[in-house]
Each structure stands twice: as structure tokens, then as C-alpha cells.
């Protein structure tokens, strides 16, 4: 294995470990609305997409969702499914935004898209898979402010992370 390949594997391992740490942090932070998370763990995929490391972003996101839900005993539950659909949906939205808009979008815009994409895909998943008659507009309005606030905070932290600690990798 070449030196670069080893370095890359170490970097991915560090990112995966970080993603799980942030995932667990998310579960223990006090929540004003019971079932909503802050999305701290989405910082890393956001930074990776912003830096155009798309495959690594998808890998870290999947790792976080699967292993995180395994550790918290939610694997194969409806929560895991909603987490998977929301996470991969958000990643897809951010991916296309980055591809289409290139340098025209900041990390804040990408973070907003990711956060609202996440919530939108989760609401769609609930409507299609769990309760068909749910009113998506009603719940979108209910979740708008917490989603917006957490998107701004997470984007700010992601920007800090990108410019300081992760730049050393």
C-alpha cells in the first residue's frame, strides 16, 4: 500500500470516529423538542461535500447512521429508516447543489439545504411508510424555526472545523 493510500485510510478512520462521537453527543444533548436532534453529526458530511469529497461524505454519513443506530440499539427500527432516508436525501440535495452551483454557494447555504432537505425527506418517509394522511405542511411549519437555528449553528461550526482542525488532515 502506498503512503498516500495509508494516509487516506487514516483520514477516513478519523472522520468515521469523529462522526460517531458527534452522533452520540447529539443523543445526550438536552432537547427543547423531544424527538428533534441538533444534527451535530452532520457537520462532517457538510464539510466533506463543501470540499467536494463526495464519496468520503457518503461513506461517513452511512457509517454514522448505521453504527450510530447500532450503538444506540435503534438499528432496523423505524427511527433508523427515517435517519437513513433523511441523511441520504440531505446528502443528495447538497451534492447536486454543490455540483450545479460550484463556488456560488457558501457553507451556510449548503448547510441550510442539508438541514431542510433532511427534514423534508424524513416527513416524506413518514407520509409514505408510516402514516399516510399526515399533513407535511403543518409539520414543516412546526419544525421550521428549530431546523433553521440548528442549520446556522452547525454551518458555523462546520466552517470553523474546515478552516482549523480538519485542514490539518
Amino acid at each position: 500500500m502506498t503512503h498516500t493510500a495509508v494516509e487516506k485510510r487514516i483520514k477516513i478512520a478519523i472522520l468515521c470516529a469523529l462522526s460517531i462521537t458527534f452522533f452520540l453527543l447529539d443523543t445526550v444533548l438536552p432537547k427543547p423538542i423531544p424527538f428533534l436532534k441538533y444534527g451535530v453529526a452532520n457537520m462532517l458530511p457538510l464539510v466533506l461535500i463543501f470540499n467536494r469529497e463526495y464519496k468520503t461524505a457518503a461513506g461517513v454519513m452511512l457509517f454514522k447512521i448505521v453504527i450510530g443506530n447500532l450503538i444506540t440499539a435503534k438499528l432496523l427500527s423505524p427511527i433508523f429508516l427515517l435517519s437513513l432516508i433523511g441523511g441520504m436525501g440531505a446528502l443528495t440535495v447538497m451534492f447536486f447543489a454543490e455540483i450545479l452551483l460550484r463556488r456560488g454557494i457558501s457553507i451556510y447555504g449548503l448547510g441550510l439545504l442539508g438541514a431542510f432537505g433532511h427534514i423534508f425527506f424524513q416527513l416524506l418517509a413518514v407520509k409514505w411508510l408510516i402514516i399516510q394522511g399526515i399533513n407535511i405542511y403543518f409539520f414543516y411549519k412546526l419544525f421550521f424555526i428549530p431546523t433553521f437555528i440548528s442549520a446556522i449553528i452547525i454551518s458555523y461550526l462546520a466552517r470553523w472545523l474546515n478552516e482549523t482542525e480538519l485542514a490539518k488532515l
Binding site: F35, F50, G104, I107, G109, L112, F116, I130, G133, L166
Partner: protein, 123 residues
């Protein structure tokens, strides 16, 4: 990890994204306010009740007994044993299109009214 030079502040596309996420807030179903029915869906049965009735619907749900009260044209979950009691915390609903959802018990309560003239309108 590459450092990025761009993306230091807001760009015009960021503002466009902000507008896009704000738009659904102003959309609403244009249903006339002549709500008349309460639809209750459980995994085992689906029933409709008149909104003007005064009744307590007892549901044998996954987490035990759940009571849905219909009174004074309001609907609310009076008693539930689900873990987070979000359905109970939703409070009272009275307008068409409003709903109360209990995901752990898979119970869905919705107020239905007359026919809508529009698919959606912005206010």
C-alpha cells in the same frame, strides 16, 4: 483536507436558498372552514365522527389505552401511554386539515371539512 477560499460569507445563491425554504411557510391548503368530521385511523380500524359531537373515543393502542376527546368542536388526546406523549402535547385541533399524530401507537387523527376550491394558496 483542502482549505477553501470561497464561501466565507453569504452569496446570492444562499439568499435564493433562504427564499426557497421560506416559501412553504406561506402556503396552505385552501380548505373552507366548514369542518364537520373527525377521522381517526388506527392500525385496526378507521372511523369518522362528527366534530360537533361530544364523545370520548377509547383506542386499544400499542402502548395501552388511548383516549381521544371530541368536545365543543375541538379534538385532543386526553390520555396516552406512549413514551414521549407528543400527541397529547400537540394540544387541541379544530380546523380542517389539522391533525394529531401518534407515531408509536400508529394513530392518526384529522379534521376534515368541505371541498376545497384551490389546491393551495399563499397568504
Amino acid at each position: 483536507m483542502k482549505k477553501t477560499v470561497n464561501g466565507q460569507g453569504l452569496t446570492p445563491f444562499d439568499l435564493l436558498i433562504l427564499v426557497i425554504v421560506l416559501v412553504p411557510l406561506f402556503l396552505s391548503n385552501g380548505i373552507k372552514s366548514n369542518a364537520s368530521k373527525v377521522l381517526i385511523k388506527t392500525p385496526k380500524w378507521t372511523k369518522e365522527y362528527a366534530l360537533k359531537s361530544d364523545t370520548a373515543v377509547v383506542i386499544n393502542s400499542y402502548y395501552g389505552k388511548m383516549i381521544v376527546r371530541i368536545k365543543d368542536k375541538n379534538v385532543w388526546v386526553e390520555e396516552t401511554h406512549c413514551p414521549l406523549k407528543i400527541c397529547q402535547k400537540t394540544g387541541r385541533i379544530s380546523k380542517p386539515g389539522q391533525n394529531i399524530v401518534c407515531v408509536p401507537n400508529r394513530v392518526f387523527i384529522k379534521i376534515e371539512g368541505g371541498e376545497s376550491d384551490y389546491d393551495a394558496y399563499s397568504r
